[in-house]
């Protein structure tokens, strides 16, 4: 019976987190008064009616953040096995990981220095 292994509890947790909001929403759905008007149907945008198209081209500034996020996201993949075996591998592995993070930290420092993180 595989599913009652390590991740069985996690699975049950997910099922319960699905059931809880749904059971809370069903009575609200059944009991709510329905008086739809056109005014209620428009998307809320700070109380002011939208003018023109709501889709815009975003600033390139977001892209720099996305690039930095990508690098540190890949770094997490390397952190995961290290974290699992940290107890057995000890101090040497800790130093190795600090070196690894330090090399990546250089990149963050470079980005900071070049003003990639400042919002213009």
């Amino acid at each position: 019976m595989k599913i009652m292994g390590d991740f069985g509890g996690l699975g049950i947790f997910f099922v319960v987190t699905l059931i809880f909001p749904i059971t809370a929403l069903i009575p609200a759905f059944l009991l709510q008064p329905r008086h739809p008007t056109k005014q209620k149907g428009i998307p809320y945008e700070c109380g002011v009616d939208t003018i023109g198209k709501t889709y815009v081209q975003y600033r390139i500034g977001y892209f720099l953040y996305a690039l930095i996020f990508l690098v540190f996201d890949i770094e997490t993949v390397f952190l995961y096995p290290w974290a699992v075996r940290f107890g057995a591998l000890g101090l040497f592995a800790l130093l190795e990981m600090f070196l690894f993070l330090g090399i990546l930290g250089l990149g963050l420092w470079y980005a900071w220095k070049k003003g990639a993180l400042s919002w213009k």
Binding site: M1, G11, F63, I68, F78, R85, A93, F100, L104, Y110
Partner: protein, 192 residues
Amino acid sequence: MNELLKLVHGVVNWGMDTAESMNAGVLIDASVFYALMWVSVLAALGVVLCRNVVHSALLLTASFIGVGCLYIYMDSPFIGAVQFLVYGGAVAILIVMALMLTRRDDMAHSNLSRSLFCQAGAAVISGAFFLCISVASLMTQFREMSAELGDSVTGLADMMLTKYILPFEVAAVLLLIAMIGALVIAKGAHES
């Protein structure tokens, strides 16, 4: 009160017996697999069928996460975590960024062309791909993983942090180069 307790006890006993006779373990196992499978497949179908490309990107991420859950279900938590981080994180962010940085008139009809020629081409290509994958997986002889191998993450960590320490640090340098290179290119576009 005593009667009620007896009734509850009876119901619980009946439930346990039924579960045992129906082989509940296998049933739960199979239902978890099918639930994850349907989430991945339906989300992937939604990627193709949605008219709004932003919805497609969201469903693609859902499909990635469903596949990641399937990896965990198949006792490969590390591959599952990599799937979440790389596909559910990095690839999804890249796709959303590509959508944010391009300009489109109307997001409601932003998915690719729906002409019959395009659909036929897509059907042929994906059919051929499916055929290749099916033949390859039918011809492969899968072996049962031996239990002595232990957790794949443990072995990976031991090798990565002892024997292959240099490639591990070189990976950090590679990531650093990728980040600096991307920043140089993106900053150039930013300032011009």
